[in-house]
């Protein structure tokens, strides 16, 4: 009798351990669990609906789990709230982060997610894994799982190109062609480049720097490449020319929101717009408003003396989810982050928002969007790193203020701007 009872106990223990090893959720083993998620994308935009759908699906697949998805304000307030949570050592289980300097700055409150993604790690692009690894070092702990990759490029309205006597199928990719296109658009009464606050200058400079330094952009951080390089000067002077000639819609610099510029271009008020690849102001947003066949794209402007051409500036990862060290449900939180960035979750998000997934298994949206097809061709070509996330936490604010002083207020000469920029990267 005693022997039989011991045998039963061993059997029950073995079954229990087998169930755990096969991924029984924390919810079912500990009772109902609420995962709190903080997010700056969970707001009434294109992102909200797919996020609600993904949350519902996750809850369905994990009975007993409730997702408390909390919308938070965007930058810079978002990271102030995270900072406050870190001070209190309590807050959400999962939080959205910008991979790169923001993630690295908060690295000490984030869980190492590397062990949780071993089975799917090779689905992600090498660039995205590098970016979400601490300090950008491959092999270092991965603190955020990437939902999107990000990049910048120039979208144009093909109808307006036709009206201005330009070939809509021929993107103005050289400096001379670009200036000529601006002049023709202006002459036709079309704003050549619609502006979304000073982000337009910021994004344009990022595309030009990518083209100037190509695969060597990372050298700006370690000092092997410098902003004093003539190619950087050429990029700066080119933007100054665009401002001085009135090709950039000057009134757009003081609009309260970047979205105003996006909406303006999407409403047909501008020949070109320096937009994003993911999130907002992307191929999908413009194609859905202006007509899929009416949107053209090119990644940068080629200068005659540049060693590199057609470089697509890209951040391996744009946004992603991290798991907080104070979470009592770290395993479940990691599963949630993984659900958003792989398989069904990733497909739903990318399909609905136009965000480009760094997960190579998430494809198949380009059939109806020629602009996306063009982007994907450039992404298969030459990718260059984005230099701005290399500025340590928050110093991009200083970089943007320097851009204001250079291009909008005219307080800095090109030499002063370059000197100050160089000083900034060493901080």
């Amino acid at each position: 009798m005693i022997r039989r009872s011991i045998l039963c106990l061993i059997l029950v223990a073995a079954c229990a351990s087998f169930g755990f090893a096969n991924g029984t959720s924390e919810a079912s083993s500990q009772g109902p669990v609420t995962l709190t998620v903080w997010d700056f994308k969970y707001i009434p935009t294109d992102s909200l609906k797919p996020m609600q759908e993904i949350d519902a699906l996750f809850q369905q697949k994990n009975p007993g789990v409730t997702i408390n998805h909390v919308a938070q304000p965007g930058e810079p307030q978002y990271y102030q709230i995270i900072q406050a949570a870190a001070t209190a050592n309590q807050g959400p289980d999962v939080a959205m982060f910008h991979p790169g300097a923001r993630e690295y700055g908060f690295g000490d409150i984030l869980v190492d997610l590397t062990p949780y993604i071993q089975d799917v790690k090779n689905q992600f692009t090498a660039a995205s894994i590098a970016m979400v690894s601490m300090d950008g070092k491959v092999g270092a702990p991965i603190k955020v799982l990437p939902m999107t990759m990000q990049g910048f490029g120039i979208y144009y309205n093909k109808d307006y190109f036709k009206k201005a006597g330009l070939d809509p199928e021929q993107a103005p990719k050289t400096a001379a062609q670009f200036l000529a296109a601006c002049e023709k658009l202006k002459a036709a009464g079309i704003v050549p480049i619609a502006v979304g606050q000073t982000y337009t200058i910021d994004f344009l400079l990022r595309t030009l720097v990518a083209n100037a330094f190509g695969p060597n952009v990372a050298g700006l951080k370690d000092g092997s490449v410098k902003y004093t390089d003539p190619l950087f000067r050429e990029s700066v002077e080119f933007i100054k020319t665009l401002v001085d000639k009135g090709y950039l819609e000057k009134d757009g610099f003081t609009r309260p929101y970047f979205m105003d510029g996006i909406n303006n271009f999407a409403a047909g008020n501008g020949g070109m717009f320096v937009g994003l690849l993911s999130d907002v102001g992307n191929w999908k947003a413009f194609s859905d408003k202006l007509g899929a066949n009416n949107v053209g794209y090119f990644p940068t402007i080629n200068f005659p003396d540049s060693k590199y051409t057609d470089q697509q500036v890209a951040q391996g990862a744009g946004i992603g989810y991290g798991v907080m060290k104070w979470s009592k449900n770290q395993k479940l939180a990691a599963a949630y982050a993984k659900f958003y960035t792989t398989g069904e979750g990733a497909r739903i998000y990318a399909g609905a928002t136009g965000a480009m997934s760094p997960n190579t298994a998430v494809t198949g949206f380009e059939a109806n969007y020629p602009a996306l097809k063009t982007i994907q061709q450039y992404l298969k070509g030459s990718l260059a790193l984005d230099y701005l996330p290399m500025f340590y936490n928050g110093y991009e604010d200083d970089a943007n203020r320097l851009c204001d002083q250079m291009f909008i207020t005219g307080q800095l000469t090109t030499d002063q701007f370059i000197t100050e920029y160089q000083k900034l990267i060493t901080k």
Binding site: P76, Y79, T254, G394, Q405, T409
Partner: protein, 291 residues
């Protein structure tokens, strides 16, 4: 030797004071001391502080943004006399009992009922390059005035909006109350002596409300040094460039955008000194008035 007050009144007065003293210690004294300590450290606002001595202060004095913020604050201070003159003059006008003065007073007080963020956002719509004010200017044949996109104009736009316009309503109520305390016979005497409107204003009204004006100036200083944040945040975010970057705004950027809380505390220590000097002035003023 025991304190005489304690002998006479017992512990009761100290018990009555205790809640206030505890609150002051928790919400004023402790943060001030912590700020001072943090200013000698490298700290992200959470986690361990790393002692760095005077390095934050050394970095601050060589930081161009710091000196720009001081000069921008100085420009805003220059709006205090203008604000005082306009407010006293309008209050004196209303005191004369011009027709509909109660309605004017109510209208002019409205800005005080609106939150700073509302005012900031509304003015950012009015004043931006393609805003309604510029549309009016262009309609009248003028060209765009860069109210918010030119640094030299932007800081003055903020001065006019916050230091002058926003304070006008409260100032009117304050100065009207002060003017009501002036003995009417002085005005009658001035009238008999043949004093005109401006002479009466300058020789009778202003000297009679001198203490109120002095207090108003001190109050305005504190507003400029420590209460501009919401307006700058909503109107210009300190820009363009560093065009409207003030000491107070810089503290926010360093501490809550760059998470350099130690460095930000060094800036705060400077602001604390400015505010302490103003407070001492205020206390002396009140003592003089009481005496």
């Amino acid at each position: 030797m025991r304190h005489r007050g304690l002998d006479r009144d017992g512990i009761a007065p100290y018990l009555f004071l205790a809640p206030l003293l505890v609150l002051l210690a928790a919400f004023i004294l402790y943060p001030v001391i912590m700020n001072l300590i943090a200013s000698f450290t490298e700290w992200k606002g959470y986690g361990a502080m790393k002692w760095t001595g005077l390095s934050n202060y050394r970095a601050m004095v060589s930081d161009q943004a710091f000196w720009t913020s001081i000069s921008n604050t100085a420009i805003l201070v220059c709006y205090i006399p203008l604000s005082t003159i306009i407010t006293v003059f309008v209050a004196a006008l209303l005191r004369e009992g011009i027709r509909g003065w109660q309605a004017y007073r109510a209208i002019l007080y409205i800005p005080n009922l609106l939150g700073p963020v509302i005012i900031g956002v509304v003015f950012s719509i009015y004043l931006r390059d393609d805003g309604s004010l510029n549309l009016l200017i262009k309609w009248a044949g003028g060209s765009t005035v860069r109210f918010l996109s030119s640094p030299s104009i932007a800081i003055n736009s903020i001065g006019l909006v916050q230091v002058v316009w926003v304070h006008l309503g409260f100032g009117l109520i304050y100065f009207l109350a002060a003017m009501n305390g002036i003995d009417q016979s002085i005005y009658e005497a001035a009238l008999i002596d043949g004093a005109g409107y401006f002479q009466t204003l300058w020789r009778v009204t202003v000297p009679s409300i001198r203490f109120a004006i002095e207090f108003w100036v001190v109050f305005s200083f504190i507003e400029v040094f420590a209460r501009m944040f919401s307006y700058i945040y909503t109107l210009t975010r300190g820009g363009p460039g560093y065009g409207t970057f003030t000491l107070e705004y810089g503290i926010f950027v360093q501490g809550f955008e760059k998470f350099r809380v130690g460095y930000s505390s060094a800036w705060s220590a400077v602001l604390f000194i400015f505010c302490a000097v103003i407070s001492v002035m205020q206390i002396r003023l009140m003592r003089r008035r009481n005496s």
